[in-house]
């Protein structure tokens, strides 16, 4: 099965950690194999052009910025991407 990468870009504040946790929960509920990364390195964030945190990227495609997506939102997005 193809490996999925989910990148959560955050700064360590509560909202960013919440998105990270929601992604972990969503992936667990969907029972898929995914590499979930939590990126707080400002340089990497800047190089991606992201300006609002937290941000979410699936397989290196930027999906959302500045929003703490809910578990169901994340599941829906993963579904439409697979």
């Amino acid at each position: 099965m193809e490996k999925f990468t989910v990148k959560v870009f955050g700064s360590g504040c509560k909202g960013c950690q919440a998105l990270h946790q929601n992604v972990i929960d969503a992936v667990a509920e969907m029972n898929i194999s995914a590499d979930v990364q939590y990126i707080t390195d400002m340089q990497k964030i800047m190089e991606s052009g992201i300006m609002s945190l937290p941000a979410l990227a699936l397989n290196d495609k930027l999906i959302s910025t500045g929003k703490v997506l809910s578990v169901s939102d994340i599941k829906r997005i993963i579904d439409t991407t697979i």
Partner: protein
């Protein structure tokens, strides 16, 4: 007509009367200390929650049209003082959580925007926004709200100009100065996505801020009914020429949502605190805070950070004294 909007729609006087009657039907004396506190408490919590709901929804919806990426594009088109003014204005409509301050700062700087312009944006963003404007208008009237916004924008523009002239470009963190600009094009959301995002914003904010609102109203109620007027007049009123300084110094390290501060400010005012003192407290609390300064420290070197904090502080102090002077005209 304006008075009706002011008193009934924004001020919700009908709500106060309704709650008063309800409490009286339970046998409580709303003129007595406990009854008055309870009335104030219930009225304020409900009023602020309704305002919060409506305001956050409308403002989040408007803000969905101004993501930082778009602001960056708009600001790149202007030069000089005009750029500073546009930056300050855009700062008021762009959604901004303090943990985004670094990416925004990095994005603007990497796009080649001058330091002064970026700082005008950074100063105005937390201090002045649509939500604060309408909230202040509903509690204190339009004259005060508009004056507050004007002062905030002036501080933002002036602050940006000062930073521009200090030539502190080398005070930005090295990794930002050495970056190349990356531009992302996010899909424009559709109408129903905007509405959903606005509703999500309301729910998340309500959940996060509600405890602060209750705390703020409780403190306000205590001030309203239990703290002696004399004490307030002596420390925060006309008896103390340093009231503004005290309020600012107190307010800077703190952070609270503006919705939570309002009941405290309201009570202090009715008890004889000067307008400028409470306004500078409000501005200090929402514009500067330990978390946002810690965030900014990652993006700028200490000297520039100190200048930023210094400018905001001076601006708030000046506004405070100005508000004091204009109190009779504004309230």
């Amino acid at each position: 007509m304006l008075k009706v909007i002011q008193n009934q729609i924004l001020g919700m006087q009908w709500l106060k009367i309704l709650i008063g009657k309800m409490l009286e039907s339970f046998g409580l004396d709303i003129q007595g200390k406990t009854g008055a506190s309870l009335l104030f408490f219930l009225y304020d919590v409900i009023k602020i929650s309704i305002l919060l709901f409506v305001l956050i929804f409308i403002i989040s919806y408007i803000q969905s049209y101004f993501p930082p990426e778009r602001s960056k594009k708009i600001m790149s088109r202007f030069d000089g003082l005009l750029a500073q003014i546009i930056a300050a204005l855009l700062g008021t409509v762009t959604p901004f959580c303090s943990c985004s301050s670094i990416p925004i700062f990095m994005g603007f700087t990497a796009a080649g925007l001058p330091l002064g312009v970026t700082f005008s944006f950074l100063i105005s963003s937390p201090m002045v926004d649509l939500g604060s404007l309408i909230l202040l208008a509903s509690i204190f009237g339009w004259k005060l709200a508009v004056t507050y916004v004007i002062f905030g924008l002036v501080i933002a523009v002036a602050g940006g100009c000062v930073i521009k002239h200090l030539n502190m470009e080398d005070q930005v963190a090295d990794f930002i100065r050495n970056s190349k600009a990356a531009s992302i094009e996010l899909q424009k959301p559709m109408q129903n996505e905007r509405v959903k995002a606005a509703l999500d914003s309301v729910c998340n904010t309500l959940k996060k801020v509600f405890p602060y609102i209750v705390a703020g109203v409780a403190i306000g109620a205590v001030i309203h009914n239990w703290i002696p007027q004399l004490w307030i007049v002596n420390t925060l009123g006309e008896k103390n020429p340093f009231g503004v300084v005290l309020a600012t110094v107190f307010g800077i390290p703190m952070y609270a949502d503006i919705f939570a501060c309002i009941p405290i400010v309201e009570s202090l005012l009715t008890k004889g605190a000067l307008l400028g003192v409470v306004m500078s407290f409000l501005m200090a609390v929402i514009a500067l805070s330990l978390p946002s300064i810690i965030m900014l420290k990652k993006a700028v070197k200490p000297k520039l950070l100190a200048v930023f904090v210094g400018i905001c502080t001076v601006g708030i102090l000046l506004s405070g004294y100005l508000f004091n002077a204009l109190q009779a005209l504004l309230l």
